[in-house]
């Protein structure tokens, strides 16, 4: 399976990374190199094999559905690129 320039444009859009047209060319070459090398995984017979999730058998713990923190508005906003009156200021998202 080879990666096309259209694939790169699509993947860049899905990744929300702006990519220039000339960079698309370069990335297509790089991604093809890497994906070509990865394709050797097709040699492995994985029929009937369960996908691995964790090395140690363990059940995900449950906890009470209660609020454990809060009232830390200052902390939440402390690193905001822009904030006003206790809100994040972001570009307009709804026309």
């Amino acid at each position: 399976m080879s990666v096309t320039k259209d694939d790169v444009r699509k993947v860049a859009r899905l990744s929300r990374i702006a990519v220039t047209e000339e960079h698309v060319e370069e990335l297509t070459g790089e991604l093809n190199g890497i994906m070509g090398w990865i394709d050797q995984l097709n040699e492995v017979d994985v029929d009937g094999v369960e996908p691995m999730t964790s090395v140690v058998e363990t059940k995900l713990p449950m906890r009470e559905d209660v609020v454990t923190d809060g009232n830390i508005q200052d902390q939440v906003l402390a690193n905001a690129p822009r904030s006003e009156d206790g809100f994040f200021v972001v570009p307009k998202a709804v026309e």
Binding site: R16, N79, A80
Partner: protein
């Protein structure tokens, strides 16, 4: 310069307890050493005032005969750990001047035991790299140089700052993290010890996430005993990390001197790879002889899916990274780059904030997870992981620990491997299997290359059997008698 900076962690803790010197004295010496070693670029944030305040608090506790297991010990912290009030960026531009309002569990554990923070250590951006060349602050320089050659060498990565700081006596020991070899490879490149514990031993809360099913915290230190001391303090059960194991942390320090008599050591034939340097091969044979002489039984084993570990890693890790790093949108924290609208703001922020290697991996991750490719790539890679784990489970039926080289080569010069991504990835060929299988692995310095550079041997243990890593690692350390230090040129 006094000699306090040259102490091991164990010796420094003894000296502090015996009041041979104060926490302030040793902290001051490290602060001075760090100031004089900025050319190594190991620290990206220095916190001398915080360090002295913590040292004074330690001295007050020590004076009363109190104090934790790390009381007064100055440590370096990889920039991947969130530290309250101290800038944390995982060496990425996208985090801007991000200053956490909370502390990672691992570092909190260290402070609770009385450790002193000297500053934040350089690393590859988001821990994606094997040479430290992807850091926003520029690469760390390895304190080691080839004989008769003054070119700068990489300390390895991603924990290059941690490894260089320990090798250059700029901290007693350091925290690091390992997703594919990021503790063990830099340890091998700098003549230091580094261990990645079993997945789930240490909490990932407050560690900047790269690949959540692979990331594990661990130490880099001067000796195997020091690694045992620090790892014990780092590990804990943490309700804030759902993958953190609810089990006791054993007393690993006592394992270091136990020896290997009666242990069965597996030697995987698949790790003798084409193109591996002859001196690495010889060092491995030497390691086998040392363990045999110490009473271990050597067993030939097979890990047939070894060659598929790296390609599987380069699906799993980028896939998880593409999901984890989706949070960097420039809205709630980090550096925003404005565009004309919301979508273009996202795209400009992420194009401007992520470096080339991170962008490459995010795109690979997005590609393998995208509609129609998920089964062919991600699901298949997770199944290959199961096969790799099964290889280990089978091998461990006939052995107690596995001995391998840590890396296929000693430290290399900057630019020597950055042309071809795949060539750089091959650095992790011996270390990545332990991440995929979630197993503990330690790297111990065992000799010097013909060029005078340190070489490491790796011991992989069963799940939750770090004790075996410390026993075998301790034996290798004693047998190798590795005491070489980089000649100070900086």
């Amino acid at each position: 310069m006094t000699e306090l900076t040259k102490l091991t962690l164990a010796a420094a803790l003894d000296g502090l307890k015996a009041k041979s010197f104060s926490a302030r004295e040793i902290t001051q010496d490290f602060i001075q050493a760090i100031e004089q070693s900025r050319v190594l670029n190991a620290y990206v944030v220095e916190t001398p005032e915080k360090a002295l305040a913590m040292a004074d608090a330690s001295d007050a506790r020590l004076a009363k005969g109190e104090g934790g297991k790390l009381e007064g010990a100055p440590l370096g912290i990889k920039d991947l750990y969130c530290t309250a009030g101290v800038r944390t960026t995982a060496c990425s531009n996208i985090l801007g001047e991000f200053t956490p309002t909370y502390e990672s569990t691992v570092t909190q554990n260290l402070w609770d035991q009385g450790a002193v923070m000297l500053g934040k250590l350089n690393m590859d951006e988001f821990a994606m790299g094997s040479s430290n060349e992807t850091s926003r602050f520029g690469p760390v320089v390895n304190p080691w140089r080839r004989k008769g050659d003054n070119r700068d060498l990489t300390p390895g990565g991603s924990s290059g700052g941690s490894a260089a700081a320990v090798a250059g006596d700029l901290c007693l020991a350091a925290t690091a993290s390992d997703t594919g070899g990021s503790i063990r490879q830099p340890a091998a490149f700098t003549g230091t010890v580094g261990i990645k514990p079993t997945y789930g031993r240490a909490s990932r809360y407050g560690m900047v996430a790269f690949a959540s099913s692979l990331d594990q915290a661990g130490p880099i230190s001067k000796t195997v005993e020091d690694s045992a001391i620090l790892l014990e303090a780092m590990c804990s059960h943490d309700p804030k990390d759902s993958t953190s194991l609810n089990i006791e942390t054993p007393d690993w320090r006592s394992d270091v001197a136990k020896g290997v008599k009666g242990m069965r050591i597996g030697i995987p034939k698949e790790y003798r790879m084409d193109g591996m340097s002859e001196e690495i091969d010889k060092l491995w044979d030497q390691g086998i002889e040392w363990l045999k002489a110490a009473g271990a039984e050597i067993v030939d084993i097979s890990l047939p899916h070894t060659k598929y570990a790296l390609p599987a890693y380069y699906i799993v890790a980028p896939a998880e990274a593409s999901s984890n790093l989706a949070r960097y949108d420039g809205m709630r924290y980090g550096a925003r780059v404005d565009g004309d609208n919301l979508a273009s703001t996202y795209e400009a922020t992420r194009a401007g904030g992520f470096g080339a290697e991170v962008q490459r991996r995010l795109m690979i991750g997005t590609y393998v997870l995208s509609s129609g490719y998920y089964d062919a790539y991600y699901l298949r890679a997770q199944k290959v992981r199961t096969k790799i784990l099964n290889d280990f489970v089978e091998a461990f039926e006939s052995c107690d620990a596995i001995l391998t080289p840590t890396c296929p080569s000693p430290a290399f010069a900057f630019g020597e491997k950055s042309g071809d991504p795949v060539e750089m990835y091959l650095n992790d060929v011996f270390t990545v299997t332990a991440n995929l299988a979630g197993l503990p692995g330690i790297s111990v310095p065992a000799g010097l290359s013909s060029g005078g550079l340190p070489l490491g041997l790796q011991v992989i243990g069963k799940a939750l059997d770090e004790a075996a890593c410390f026993r075998v690692g301790g034996e290798l350390e004693r047998a190798a008698g590795f005491v070489a230090k980089p000649e100070k040129w900086w």
